[in-house]
Symmetry: C2
Subunit: 485 residues, 2 copies
């Protein structure tokens, strides 16, 4: 790609055959038009590419991959391009084509008695949620990017979100897959089954593999009954440890009616209120920690609210809960959610922050916060702890913010050191350095520090077995053979 | 193993080093004492082996595997030996050692706030259920062999059972694994996390791999809240199609409170009553089909029974349900379960039967039964349809019984032909030829007929990546390179 002749040869051997398959509508080579596909919406990943290819069928996509396989042209699969780890943008050297699923956007089938929906990879998550709701079902995957992320990317990253405590990760919501393999063959695994032990469950390897083993082109999704009612509360607690006790209490009383259980540090609310309009201060007094809890059920809203109130009253008597409010209306519930949703936006405007998407066993969350806060405050005086997230599944967005004083550039330079301190503690407590966002390029150099040689070897063995020429999203998750990718 | 000198050399190079690791208590070579490890409790699988090895730790088990890897000695991993597909017994040529997890039977840890339990592979399923119940939790895996099957085998076969409609398969209940790989290294993946996207989720490949990729030595299991109440009913319906309508109705009304939804053909009840004591005829009249439905919840038993009655009344008004009984006591519920549980035993005594463990999309169950029954009756007049199973997850035990007349030996010889007719229809409807039992040896020669070349290639690639010398449970699930194993 560095000389005119190699560019010509690349065009003749790769781009022209691809153009013959996808047509002029299916390929973009104009730099300006390509730009949105080259960069991430956050975190500054920017790359270059000779072409963005947008096939309109799995067959066309497979034919494109075959050309890439024959010519050893590396591919970056891309869905809604909303990821947070640099996995869906090309590298800066411009050697990779971007293969977009934007035009694979049909809902192929809804099977009501089977509670499944067959969708193509480019369907927007929110459209899938709405299509399910239109037929009286729930597709429970829900996350901030749902208006633009695509289901193929949700599957490739095993997306999480705010309802994992009840419905599990994306892995749990997939019954079947259609995948284009790195050699360009199509695997039709679009089975809508709850039980299938006929050989290895091959779909599992593609879920969460960040496009490094193949490209998901369609999926059979599992639908759930649509809850008839929800009940929402925001309560104050004096510590994360009390929040865990409240969670354990609530699970015992209402089990899987808990669809959301979010822990929020007071400082997060302050920051959201400082920078984002209409974020309320929910209670009359100020408390150190809060929990946003939501229940959902087929039973009546009154019954559900009564159960929630019962739990909170008992928790207040036991001293776990200091104060709280149960939403009396949809508007009031939305207002409580506004607090939670305002946090990431507020944080962005407050200065340098150190983002971590970590999980530990729920029983270790309080200990993790204590240890990480103490270690960082010791090392970087003035750093401000900032923690919120999905306590119900042990996933904390632990995002401390720079001190009020000091040079932002200096604070920025500390990112790697902060990550190392936090991640060392996480792994020491049996946790994960990436709970839901994946590894991509963001954590690729940290992974070898936190995975055993045995586990890394297994990951490499899997990659080599399915993509021996390393053309599928190279340099994401793993570097092979000590190479840059 | 065929000459004295090779036997001597095998003893010196393999058995003596193994004995040095596990001690005399950890190795059995006496044929009589080995016999229970050589044969299946049902279906007649019998093999031979030079030794049964019973390590008492993952470390010792790994050391044994290292010796086998170095000497290319094939291994049959064995748990409770309750499988139904010949996966856990050695082949007849006596070349494989049996590696038993019987002595890996400790519960290592229970983490109440994290709702997890860390167990060794040899723990009996019922002991795990009881240990969970003792601390106020539910471990929801439940199946007929629970009194003797081991959790390692449940994981290796991705066990199903009667509560999958609510809690999922074994895969859904595993948070982390410890596995000894075919080269004898130990992978410590014992993480108790609900969210972990730090690289490929390697535990997924071992779950359901029937011991062909490695040996599970321990697992972190997910626990659930213990339901406070259950409600059980047996209802009569005129067709499987009406049973599906009832299921859809019930899911809409009570969602995941449904823990069991079993379809039962009338003839199954007749056969159970003919051969098994104390199986009641549940209703005053005789109906063609029945459904055993059970709900469980944290709410009160009265509330739950009221919900169940409400569903059944509405279903009767809609004509989906013809008659039914809601159990008024634990004893009455047990008596209804006695019907379901008496079926396999009754069937065994009625003559030759053709067992199938198939699944189709729930929406296709009625069509499957119609087509399969018609095809078999056309081909084998007099054959008696006999169907029951887990309608809630599309898994039907479709086990037609020989005609009342004819030579049993002739009926027996038709097994392959019956399997082919049934499985062709299953796969044509998007189903699986093994819903929960696995492939083992029973279905190994059928798998290539029903899996695409692409899928078979992927399975072989995975096997070769992890067990290139094919020492781990060879000749189960797959034959490699056209070899017998």
């Amino acid at each position: 790609m560095t000389t005119t002749s190699s560019t010509t040869s690349f065009a003749a051997s790769v781009l022209d055959p691809i153009r013959a398959i996808v047509g002029e509508r299916g390929i973009i080579t104009d730099p300006g038009t390509m730009q949105p596909f080259m960069e991430s919406w956050r975190d500054g990943w920017v790359g270059r590419s000779p072409a963005v290819v947008l096939p309109d069928s799995a067959q066309a996509l497979a034919a494109v991959v075959r050309i890439c396989a024959e010519t050893r042209t590396p591919i970056v699969p891309q869905g809604g391009n909303t990821g947070l780890t640099g996995a869906s943008q090309p590298h800066a050297d411009g050697s990779e084509i971007v293969l977009s699923t934007n035009r694979l956007n049909r809902i192929r089938e809804i099977d009501l008695d089977n509670d499944t929906m067959t969708v193509e990879a480019g369907c927007i998550l929110a459209n899938i949620q709405n299509a399910a709701r239109d037929v009286g079902r729930l597709f429970p995957m829900s996350l901030a990017a749902e208006g633009s992320c695509q289901i193929g990317g949700n599957i490739a990253t095993n997306a999480g979100g705010v309802q994992v405590v009840r419905y599990g990760n994306m892995r749990n919501l997939v019954a079947g897959l259609e995948v284009v393999l790195p050699d360009g063959r199509i695997w039709d695994g679009l089975r809508g089954l709850r039980k299938d032990n006929a050989g290895y469950d091959m779909k599992q390897i593609f879920i969460g593999s960040e496009g490094t083993l193949g490209i998901v082109t369609a999926a059979v999704l599992k639908l759930s009954p649509l809850p008839r009612a929800t009940a929402t509360a925001l309560v104050a607690v004096s510590s994360p440890s009390d929040a865990v006790d409240l969670l354990t209490r609530a699970k015992g009383k209402v089990g899987d009616r808990i669809i959301t259980f979010e822990l929020i540090q007071r400082f997060c609310i302050d920051i959201a209120r400082r920078h984002v309009p209409d974020v309320p201060d929910p209670l009359n007094d100020v408390y150190p920690w809060y929990v946003l809890v939501e229940l959902a059920d087929q039973d009546s809203g009154e019954r559900l609210a009564g159960m929630l109130e019962g739990i909170l009253e008992a928790a207040m008597e036991a001293g776990e809960v200091l104060d709280g409010v149960v939403a009396a209306s949809k508007a009031q519930a939305d207002s409580l959610w506004r607090i939670r949703e305002g946090i990431p936006e507020g944080q962005k405007r407050e200065g340098v922050s150190y983002k971590h998407d970590v999980s530990v066993p729920i029983s270790k969350v309080a200990l993790f916060l204590d240890r990480a806060n103490a270690a960082l405050e010791r090392e970087f005086p003035g750093i401000r702890p900032f923690s919120f997230g999905h306590l119900g599944d042990g996933n904390i967005h632990y995002n401390p913010i720079q001190g009020e004083d000091g040079d932002p550039a200096e604070w920025k330079a500390r990112l790697g050191a902060v990550n190392a301190i936090v991640h060392d503690i996480v792994v020491d407590l049996g946790g994960s350095i990436s709970a839901e966002h994946g590894i991509g390029r963001l954590r690729i150099d940290e992974l070898p520090r936190y995975k055993s040689p045995v586990e890394l070897d297994m990951m490499v063995a899997l990659k080599m077995a399915f993509d021996p020429h390393n053309i599928m999203n190279p340099g994401k998750i793993l570097r092979l053979n000590g190479n840059a990718r």
